[in-house]
Symmetry: C2
Subunit: 239 residues, 2 copies
DNA sequence: CCTCTTTATAGTCGCACTGACTATTAAGGG
DNA sequence: CCCTTAATAGTCAGTGCGACTATAAAGAGG
């Protein structure tokens, strides 16, 4: 079916949808926009928009990310294609195929509403339900994917600012996985993985509040985490 | 950019491309079709075609898979969405967005050419180069993905018939990864993973050639492989 | 028939990683 | 000045895995 005669295919509208994650108060949040138009007017949805004729889906996703968050550094934030949603009827008006992306932001800027979005807001992931279109499904898939990637990639640093403590890194894992981790073991694992994190050379130490000041680290060059850091199904850390 | 006014978007053609893998003579093969039309007439390409208006990409992929291989059991073979390729200019004539899939077949049937494909052929993966469009890239991505999934899923059984020996299963890993594995260790790992394989209850044994007959196993209910079966970078097994 | 080759299966040994846990250090708060 | 909090250091045992040896059961070839 590679023939391109004019009756061989129907045109589709192609959009991107973004699951933009960040950590606020040690909880995983996702960026949502309130829809201003029908369908689903007044409902919350993942930010997104149409892919323009001269764009790839990746380019469109970066553009939408910049528009929605107000970020100027479009090359910076981690952005990854997830999968494409193409069920007929997922948009009640027309045939829309949507390429979903996940983005990870460190310091979450206050969102500024996009051109036609009534408003944009960070919402705790667990409270984001009843979204427009099939965005509940997309968000769940995105969260699963990010959680799985934490296990065998060094992706967690994408949630952290340029310099961070091991405690902050651990809280990324705990927020995404919804578990608690043993601190000494987490520390041992991260430091034993070459290239995961690099100590900031100066005796730089950060004090955010109480307790012993923690050493600062930067993200290292490694991308994979071998052997992986598996989440063990367990209930809670015995205090 | 969720406004749907008529100037907000341009229509795209949406296609699916399939990387159909199987094992022939202990080597990973991929199904290719020879293009009969311009562009890239006479060149080899991944099978694929347009998504029809009433179809999802998954449905279209199953349809194309059945058309290209002549398989009637469309629910059977493992099929997984990989990612979407949307670079402008990837098709010289028009704006085409393609959703790529990987399919895994056990007993490889002889391919029958699709409607407009001059012919279809199983080609050893290592010899499949110079494909049409961006299919070299898609094929490489698909192979990487399948190789990675063998590490932490029970996907390998999708390459095997309903009943298989552990030696056959091991050859799947060796063909996809391009390595050799230690047989006793592989065996220990597979049997120690609950739900990966189940012994065929009868004293059923298969003799395909020389050597001691091997016990037969079926694919078990497990999908994940935890802890994973990591490929260790090494050169070759000391005979 | 006997031996060699081939493949499957059983088991051993030691190292590396990890989960669970204890101890010590260095800050801030009352 | 003590208590709390958080970071860091270290211990110990169990598990998983790489490397390796040994045995069993078939066919091939003389």
């Amino acid at each position: 079916m590679r023939g391109y005669d004019k009756h061989a295919y129907e045109p589709f509208a192609v959009t991107v949808d973004l699951a933009v994650f960040t950590l606020r108060a040690d909880a995983l949040h996702v960026l949502l926009v309130e829809r201003g138009q029908e369908p689903y007017a007044g409902r919350w949805a993942l930010p997104g928009g149409f892919v323009r004729p001269e764009e790839s889906a990746e380019t469109a996703a970066r553009r939408e990310l910049a528009e929605e968050t107000g970020l100027t550094d479009v090359t910076g934030p981690y952005l990854e294609q997830l999968r494409t949603y193409s069920e007929p009827g997922r948009d009640p008006r027309m045939r829309v195929v949507s390429v979903a992306f996940a983005a990870l932001l460190p310091g979450p800027p206050e969102p500024r509403g996009g051109s036609d979005a009534a408003q944009a807001r960070w919402v705790p992931c667990d409270e984001a339900r009843g979204l427009a279109f099939d965005h509940d499904r997309i968000l769940a898939d995105a969260r699963d994917r990010v959680g799985a990637e934490l296990e065998h990639t060094c992706l967690a640093t994408a949630f952290c600012p340029a310099e961070f403590t091991l405690g902050e890194l651990q809280r990324v894992y705990e927020a995404v996985w919804g578990t608690t981790l043993d601190r000494p073991n987490f520390r041992r694992k991260v430091l034993a993985t070459p290239g995961f994190v690099e100590p900031v050379p100066g005796a730089a130490r950060l004090t955010g509040g109480r307790g012993k000041p923690a050493a600062l680290y930067r993200a290292g060059p490694a991308a994979a985490l071998r052997p992986p850091l598996l989440r063990t199904p367990r209930e809670g850390h015995p205090a």
